[in-house]
């Protein structure tokens, strides 16, 4: 063999070795990349799993869904009636108004009985306002109807008229309070004739025959239309909405920061009392 041939063979051997080394390196790098990717996916998976567990725990801890108020048994129903009676019992009522007719301040509360946010106000800020201002004769509250959450206008009319019909016996606020306390899931169609009859039966001292007869009074349906017009004039599109002012005088829109804490309402009442 010549020297040139030997050199050529050496080169080929060297090249093969280098190629094999490069291939091995590539393979090692690919394996390392796969391992890194796997580690990253595992880390990400752990984070996602922890977050899912925390969310589920928070949802369970803060209540699985909309807090349904429909009582499950007679005991719960009786507890609600007792609570409502202790809140509005002994306070003068006149139609849609709760409180002394001569109270110096009037608060108009535009609500829809199926509106969950109205429920939040009714069970949140309202009780302390009733205790502090209505019981002491400084404030009277007028409940006015504005359709928002109730999808079917007929259902809205039926339920609001049912409340107004209780007002014919000066018990509308019992009915309103009981409705909000036992409000069902929005859009679930829970407002049926049975539901309304059941509420009426819970109103202390309500004459059911008179109440049933009053529900067909066209004056009540007209008052709902009047309330809708008043809300339209005030520019209200959502519930709850409020107006406040001196009794007998013009009412102006009440701005609030919270429906569960009464501070916005209290300062509006105080400034109206001083005005």
């Amino acid at each position: 063999m010549s020297t040139v041939e030997d050199d050529e063979q050496d080169l080929t051997r060297k090249q093969r070795r280098e190629q094999a080394r490069a291939k091995r390196k590539e393979l090692e790098q690919a394996e390392a990349a796969t391992a890194v990717r796997r580690t990253r996916l595992t880390q990400l998976g752990i984070v996602v799993a922890i977050v899912v567990v925390i969310i589920v725990a928070v949802v369970i801890a803060t209540g699985g869904g909309s807090k349904k108020g429909i009582p499950k048994n007679t005991h719960e129903k009786n507890a609600i009636v007792t609570e409502v009676t202790s809140l509005v019992g002994g306070i003068a009522q006149n139609g849609n108004t709760l409180g002394d007719p001569k109270a110096p301040v009037t608060l108009a509360y535009f609500g829809d009985l199926e509106c969950p946010i109205c429920r939040e106000f009714t069970l949140g800020a309202l009780p302390s306002l009733i205790q502090k201002y209505v019981r002491s004769g400084k404030l009277k509250i007028e409940y006015r109807s504005l359709e928002t959450a109730t999808k079917e206008p007929e259902t809205f009319k039926t339920q609001q008229v049912a409340a107004l019909a209780a007002g014919k016996q000066q018990k509308m606020w019992y009915f309103i309070e009981l409705f909000y306390h036992q409000q069902g899931e929005e859009d679930s169609g829970y407002v049926t004739e049975n539901y309304l009859q059941n509420l009426a039966q819970q109103v202390p001292g309500l004459n059911l025959t008179t109440w049933s007869a009053a529900r067909s009074d066209p004056e009540l349906a007209n008052s709902i239309a009047t309330d809708a017009q008043a809300a339209n004039v005030a520019g209200f599109t959502g519930t709850p909405s409020f107006q406040i002012g001196k009794t007998g005088g013009p009412l102006k829109k009440l701005e609030y920061a919270s429906l569960t804490e009464p501070s916005s309402f209290e300062s509006a009442i105080e400034s109206t009392l001083k005005a």
């Binding site: 990717r37 990400l44 984070v47 928070v58 803060t62 946010i117 939040e120 569960t260």
Partner: protein, 163 residues
């Protein structure tokens, strides 16, 4: 997308989210109504609902703290750990947004545009941060650097091209 432009995109989105959360936190403590479409109904209702606080802490403040943490993780020198911190924080933020949107849709039955905008921002942040974390060093395009394989982490300046 280069590592630098991806990081800048993440920073811009985080600053926008920070702005939204700061505004919501401010109006919560100032007790004023949020500026909102559709007569402000949805935002005001959501902001004043019982779900506007979690264990007594306003959710807007929790969001603000979250965005500050994401921003901090993005300002750290870019390493495997900092990328993991960003992705972990954005996944937590996304989870929190899922919870809040669930509450808006199924408990409060009203939507707050500000909350939705924050949810969208955090979702995009999470997607980008996940992509950034999984691909590792952008210039290596899937090939791990020595730092990622196990060698000491690079102290190269942020956004500097890695070899």
């Amino acid at each position: 997308m280069s590592s630098r432009s991806l990081r800048i995109t993440l920073l811009v989105l985080t600053v926008i989210g920070l702005g939204v959360a700061s505004y919501l936190t401010y109006i919560h403590y100032a007790g004023i109504k949020p500026l909102c479409g559709r007569n402000g109904g949805g935002c005001e209702i959501v902001q004043t609902s019982e779900y506007s606080k979690l264990a007594g802490v306003p959710v807007a403040l929790i969001g603000l703290i979250g965005y500050v943490a994401i921003l901090a993780s993005l300002l750290l020198p870019e390493t495997e750990r900092s990328r993991f911190a960003t992705v972990a924080l954005t996944v937590i933020g996304f989870g929190f947004s899922v919870y809040l949107t669930y509450r808006e849709l199924f408990s409060i039955h009203h939507i707050c545009e500000w909350c939705v905008s924050s949810a969208v921002i955090v979702t995009v942040l999470m997607c980008l941060a996940t992509w950034r974390f999984l691909r590792g060093d952008a210039t290596a395009m899937g090939t791990p650097t020595q730092a990622e394989i196990g060698a000491p982490e690079s102290n190269a300046p942020l956004g500097a091209a890695h070899s």
